[in-house]
C-alpha cells in the first residue's frame, strides 16, 4: 500500500426504534459526532454504506442527499451496497481512497432506517440479499436460511440448542454494559428457549432486531494522523474482503462460511498477524448460529467447537477472546448498512481505552467481521493502536 491509514474520529447516532428520526438526520448526527471526535474542519470525500434505502424509505441517490445535508460542500460522495456488509465495504472504499493518495481526509458512514415499514415488509426488504429467483421465490426468509445452517451444525457437530442460546445471553450481558445498545437488559437461556419460534430451531431471541441507526468514522493517512490526532491513533493494519455464492444451497457445506474464512486469512496476512494475536473481535452475529459459524470459519476455534467455547466463557468479557463486547448485533442493534462501520467504532473505542464498563483491558489489536446475506460477502478489518 502506498500510504498507511488511520482512524482519527468515530461517532454514532442514537440506535433503536426511532420514529422521530429520519434517515438523513440519523446519518448527519453520526457523521457530525465522528467529525467532532476527529477535530477536523473539512472532509475531502465520503462513502456511505446502506443496504436498501430504496425499499425501506423509498430513497435512492443517497450519497448526494447525505453530503448535501451534512453541509460539507459539493464533495465527492458514493453509496456502496453489499447487503448487511455495506458498512464494511464502505470502510474498504474509504481505506483505498486514502491509501492511494487520492484524498487525505475521508468520512465513511453507514446508515439504515428500517422502522418506517412493518415487519413483513422489512422481512421482504432484507430478503433481497438472498437469491430472488431460487431462494426467495419459494418463500424463504433470512431466519429460515440461518435456521437451516443451525440445523446442519447441530447435526454435524452435536451443537446444542442451549449453546446457541448462550450466544444471545452473552451478547445481552455485554449490551447491558453499553449505554448505546438498543437492548440493555440481560436474558437467560430459559428466556431464549421460551421465546417465540421464528424458523425452527431459531427463536426470536436468537435473532438480531430491526434497528434505525447510523455510524461514522473519519480516516486519514497515518502521517497526517500523527500531526493532528490528540487521541491514541488507531491504524487499519489489515483488510480482507471475499465473496461467495449468495444462494445457500449452492454451497457444499452449509456450516462453513468461505467468505469469512478468506476475508480473515487475507486481513491477517496483510497485517502480518495470526489469530492468536487478536485480543477482541466484533463479528456479525445476525443470528446466534452466525457467531459460531464465523468464529469457526475464521479459524479462531476448531470446526464444530464454537458452541462449547461459548459455553465455557472463552468469548465473554473477561474470557481469553472477548467477542462482541458491544453487545453485538443481537443487543446493540442491527441497522444493516450501519453495522460494519459501528463494529469499527466499537473496536476503536476499545483500543483507545474509552469503552467504559465493557472495556477489554489492555487491548491493542482488534478484529471486525461484517457479513452480507448468509455469507455471500464478508469484510474483515484488523485495527491496531500505534
Amino acid at each position: 500500500m502506498a500510504r498507511e491509514v488511520a482512524i482519527i474520529g468515530v461517532g454514532l447516532s442514537p440506535w433503536g426504534e426511532l420514529w422521530d428520526k429520519s434517515l438523513r438526520d440519523l446519518f448527519v448526527e453520526a457523521a457530525l459526532n465522528a467529525i467532532a471526535d476527529a477535530a477536523v474542519d473539512h472532509i475531502d470525500s465520503m462513502y456511505v454504506g446502506c443496504m436498501s434505502s430504496g425499499l425501506f424509505v423509498g430513497q435512492e441517490h443517497l450519497a448526494s442527499l447525505l453530503s448535501d445535508y451534512l453541509g460539507m460542500g459539493p464533495i465527492p460522495a458514493a453509496r456502496v451496497e453489499s447487503a448487511c456488509a455495506s458498512g464494511g465495504l464502505a470502510m474498504r472504499c474509504g481505506f483505498l481512497e486514502v491509501a492511494s493518495g487520492m484524498s487525505d481526509v475521508v468520512l465513511v458512514g453507514g446508515v439504515e432506517k428500517m422502522t418506517d415499514v412493518g415487519t413483513d415488509e422489512a422481512t421482504a426488504a432484507l430478503s433481497t440479499a438472498a437469491d430472488q429467483e431460487h431462494e426467495v421465490f419459494y418463500g424463504v426468509t433470512f431466519p429460515a436460511l440461518y435456521a437451516m445452517m443451525a440445523r446442519a451444525h447441530m447435526r454435524q457437530y452435536g451443537t446444542t440448542r442451549e449453546q446457541l442460546a448462550q450466544v444471545a445471553v452473552k451478547n445481552h450481558r455485554h449490551g447491558a454494559l453499553n449505554p448505546h445498545a438498543q437492548f440493555r437488559h440481560q436474558i437467560t437461556v430459559e428466556d431464549v428457549l421460551a421465546s417465540v419460534m421464528v424458523a425452527d430451531p431459531l427463536r426470536v431471541l436468537d435473532c438480531s432486531p430491526i434497528t434505525d441507526g447510523a455510524a461514522a468514522v473519519v480516516m486519514c493517512s497515518l502521517e497526517t494522523a500523527r500531526k493532528v490526532c490528540k487521541k491514541p491513533i488507531v491504524k487499519i493494519a489489515g483488510i480482507g474482503h471475499a465473496t461467495d455464492t449468495i444462494a445457500l444451497h449452492s454451497r457444499e457445506d452449509l456450516t462453513f462460511l468461505r467468505s469469512a474464512s478468506l476475508a480473515a486469512e487475507r486481513a491477517l496476512k496483510m497485517a502480518n498477524r495470526t489469530p492468536e494475536d487478536i485480543q477482541l473481535i466484533e463479528l456479525h452475529d445476525c443470528f446466534t448460529i452466525a457467531e459460531l459459524l464465523v468464529l469457526e470459519s475464521m479459524g479462531f476455534v476448531p470446526k464444530g467447537k464454537a458452541g462449547e467455547a461459548t459455553a465455557s466463557g472463552l468469548t465473554a468479557l473477561g474470557g481469553k477472546l472477548p467477542v462482541n463486547p458491544s453487545g453485538g448485533l443481537k443487543a446493540k442493534g442491527h441497522p444493516v448498512g450501519a453495522t460494519g462501520v459501528a463494529q469499527i467504532v466499537e473496536v476503536v473505542q476499545q483500543l483507545r481505552g474509552e469503552a467504559g464498563d465493557r472495556q477489554v483491558e489492555g487491548a491493542r489489536l482488534g478484529l471486525t467481521q461484517n457479513m452480507g446475506g448468509t455469507g455471500g460477502s464478508s469484510l474483515v478489518h484488523i485495527l491496531e493502536v500505534v
Binding site: 413483513d120 421482504a124 431462494e135 419459494y138 418463500g139 431466519p143 425452527d200 444462494a247 444451497h249
Partner: protein, 129 residues
Amino acid sequence: MSSPKYWREVPQRFRLEAARCKTCGATHYPPRLVCPGCRGREFELVTLPRQGTLESFTVVRVASSAFVDQAPYAIGIVRLEGGVKMLTQVVDCEPEDLQVGMPVRLEFRRISEEGRAGIICYGHKAVPA
C-alpha cells in the same frame, strides 16, 4: 412480478432444465453462461432428476409479505440424485415428521399467488418419497 420475468424462468422452474458443462461435466441449476469450476462456456441441457434427500430444513413461522398467508410452512434444501441442490418448500407432511436425510421427490405445484389480478406462480416442491 412482471410477466417477462416469470416467463423467462419457465424452462428451469417448470421443466427442471439444467446445464451440464461439456468441459468438466459439472451440472448447474439454474443454467449459467460460464462454468465457475473450469470457466467452460459450452453446455448441454439436461433435466434434473426428481428424486433426492433432504439436507436441512426449517419451518417458517414469520414469513415475508408474499407468503404471510401460507405460514407456517416447511422449507428445505434438497440434494437431488447426481448432487445438484435446490431450495424449495417441503409439503404433504407434518413438520414434525421431517428429518435430515429423508428421501423426497419433486412435484409440480403452485408456489404463490399475487392476488386477484397477479400471476399465479408455479414450480416444484418436495414431498416425502
